[in-house]
């Protein structure tokens, strides 16, 4: 009994520790953030060598309710922790939006092992569809978001169906082409603002309450970002849950089998076309809804938010966080969003610094911060069968 309470509190403390580390990264200066990240990397590397990370995973997994509660409470209290600082809240919102896109992209990179170089095109498809419908057609932003999601899926099918006949480098080339076509098409379409973008995108409303009005909570005046923070993180929670369930289902397994060997996968009864298209379309759906929310949040979208370099950043988030690992991908997206914002101090050298940070992290953790792991289906199995070397070592790719 005492052991149980001990484990319970240990699990709670480790989650709390992760939340606090993220909070410190978010709220302090670049140097402090980098030190925290460096410390985290050291802990991860040492922990893995001593098989501690595995135990922490189990500890957190065994006490899911408690840990999800702590994370939820952390996000709920975040506006108060940062004392209503709207810039920090903005970073947190962008981290959430990018996390959703990265989770979707992970179905392709982590799942079927195909690098899609056009996540920003799907993200932009969602944003432009929703913005256009609500600005030019007067559609409700909620419906616009739904249409954005659907249009991104349509783009996913139209591009994915022919493109997925190719694999590896060839598929990547097709997606690079898609990304370039998408940006060029927007710049050359005056009816969606061309190079000027779409300004004045309306915000979400519930009843008469606009998401762009500040709220007073517990006697403290909080900026309007709070509404979006909660909206984005509720969605992120749902989308991460869905991604996790897919990963643990036969669908996630089929994706991994296709990644490893498509012919063997087909000989196990996996329909290659449909299963790969599914990874493409679900990824597009995630990106589409994230893009739509982005538009309604910032009230302005321009082509520079959806260009090739944005796509590369999404890819970095997935790879740096850890492919095919839902917490890893979210962690990667959150960290890179924060680092990117912190580096604004460097102005001209920002991208250079960004690249250096990325390279250093990937040299130390080449498989990402939280690498892909062996699936564990039930906690009970785990004690029955030994589970050392849970981290996938090496690789056949």
């Amino acid at each position: 009994m005492g052991n149980k309470i001990y484990r319970y509190s240990l699990a709670g403390l480790s989650t709390l520790g992760i939340c606090m580390a993220l909070y410190v990264c978010l709220s302090s200066a670049l140097l402090v953030a980098l030190i925290v990240i460096a410390l985290a990397i050291v802990i991860l590397s040492v922990g893995e060598r001593k098989n501690v990370i595995d135990k922490v995973y189990r500890l957190i997994g065994d006490n899911k309710a408690l840990n999800l509660g702590i994370i939820a409470l952390f996000i709920l209290l975040l506006p108060f922790l940062v004392q209503g600082n709207n810039y920090l809240l903005h970073i947190a919102i962008m981290a959430g939006i990018f996390s959703i896109v990265a989770l979707g992209l992970n179905f392709q990179i982590g799942g079927i092992g195909q690098i899609n170089f056009a996540p920003a095109a799907f993200y932009g498809m969602g944003a432009y569809t929703s913005a256009f419908l609500s600005v030019k057609m007067g559609l409700s932003p909620w419906l616009g978001t739904l249409c954005g999601l659907l249009m991104a899926i349509v783009l996913g099918v139209v591009v994915g169906f022919p493109a997925l006949k190719a694999r590896g480098y060839y598929l990547s080339l097709v997606t690079i082409a898609l990304q370039i076509i998408f940006t060029l098409m927007i710049v050359n379409s005056p009816w969606i603002g061309g190079p000027n973008g779409i300004p004045g995108i309306p915000s979400y409303q519930i009843g008469g309450f606009s998401f762009r009005t500040p709220v007073a909570l517990g006697g403290i005046q909080l900026p309007y970002q709070v509404n979006f923070l909660y909206l984005v993180y509720i969605l992120l929670a749902l989308f991460a849950l869905a991604a996790n369930r897919l990963y643990n289902s036969r669908v996630g397994l089929a994706w991994n089998a296709i990644e490893q060997d498509p012919i063997v996968a087909a000989c196990q009864g996996i329909n290659l076309t449909n299963t790969q298209l599914l990874a493409f379309c679900l990824g597009a759906a995630y990106a589409g809804i994230a893009g739509a929310i982005y538009g309604h949040y910032t009230s302005f979208i321009g082509v520079e938010n959806f260009d090739f370099s944005q796509s590369l950043i999404f890819i970095c988030m997935v790879i740096l966080g850890g492919t095919d690992n839902v917490p890893g991908v979210v962690l990667g997206a959150v960290l890179l969003t924060m680092i990117d914002e912190k580096l604004r101090d460097f102005s001209g050298y920002r991208l250079l610094m960004y690249g250096i940070v990325l390279i250093i992290i990937l040299i130390i953790r080449p498989k990402g911060l939280l690498p892909k792991r062996i699936r564990v289906y039930q906690q009970k199995d785990r004690s029955e069968y030994s589970s050392h070397s849970a981290v996938v070592t090496g690789g056949s790719r």
Binding site: N248, L253, C267, Q268, I374, Y385, S386, G395
Partner: protein, 255 residues
């Protein structure tokens, strides 16, 4: 004899090369050995049956149904499972995950069920795990304790066992084994012969086509042997009949 699989004058051309030439073949409730020198079209023939290649001419019937133009995943769903010449497990995945892949064709969960009805999805996985572990225990109980280890940490003989276990776990009607003893030493080959015999002991409703170069394997487990040379069937019968056949001797020894 009730025919499980039958091919009618199957041919396949790769450019100017005819790898399989007018092959009539059939198998009932039995173990058939497929032998022949290198390049005689044995693996190509298995690839045609399992749908990886489409024959240039001829038809393939499975349980009386024409499966010639079906893609591999539908042929697997009909009940033909196979292993590969070079061991092709998913090395990054655990033993258990590889076994669950063998059950993929029997499972029903779609992506939206996986997301919105996760309890039925995990119940299906749980049943699959029980079944997988039972089959693993049948082949090598030691593998159960390693079920959560990635396959790349497992020695070759056990990888082959897992591949065979993956093929039979989904209750196929016909199993195609492509050189199951390649790369094994004689002790391991003996173990493998026992393992293949175990498949039949588990269920007599499984027919097996086995490609093999090791004639002790062929003589000990097959009930009938078909010998190919240059894509054509040159002999058929029990092992001792085929072994005495003059054409077979010439094909193997040259001259």
């Amino acid at each position: 004899m009730m025919g499980v699989l039958r091919t009618e004058r199957v041919s396949i051309d790769f450019g100017g090369l005819r790898a399989v030439d007018n092959l009539d073949f059939q198998i009932g409730d039995e173990i058939v050995g497929l032998i022949g020198p290198n390049g005689s079209g044995k693996t190509t023939f298995l690839n045609i049956i399992s749908g990886i290649y489409k024959p240039t001419r001829g038809r393939v019937y499975f349980n009386g149904e024409d499966i010639t133009s079906l893609p591999p995943h539908m042929i697997r769903a009909k009940g033909i499972a196979r292993t590969f010449q070079t061991n092709r497990l998913c090395l990054n995945l655990s033993i258990l995950d590889n076994m669950l892949l063998g059950l993929y064709c029997q499972q029903q969960t779609t992506w939206w069920q996986a997301i919105f009805m996760s309890s039925s999805s995990s119940r299906e996985i749980k049943l699959g795990i029980e079944k997988s572990l039972a089959i693993l225990a049948h082949f090598n109980p030691a593998l159960i304790t390693r079920a959560y280890e990635p396959v790349m940490t497992i020695p070759l003989i056990d990888r082959r066992r897992i591949e065979i276990a993956r093929a039979v776990v989904g209750d196929p009607r016909l199993v195609l084994l492509d050189e199951p003893t390649a790369g094994l030493n004689s002790e391991e080959t003996n173990q493998m012969i026992n393992d293949i015999a175990k498949i039949r002991r588990r269920s007599s409703q499984i027919s097996i086509i086995i490609i093999e170069h090791d004639m002790t394997v062929i003589s000990r487990i097959t009930e009938r042997v078909v010998c190919l040379n240059a894509g054509q069937k040159i002999a058929e019968g029990t092992f001792s009949e085929v072994a005495r056949n003059e054409l077979v001797r010439t094909a193997y020894l040259g001259g």
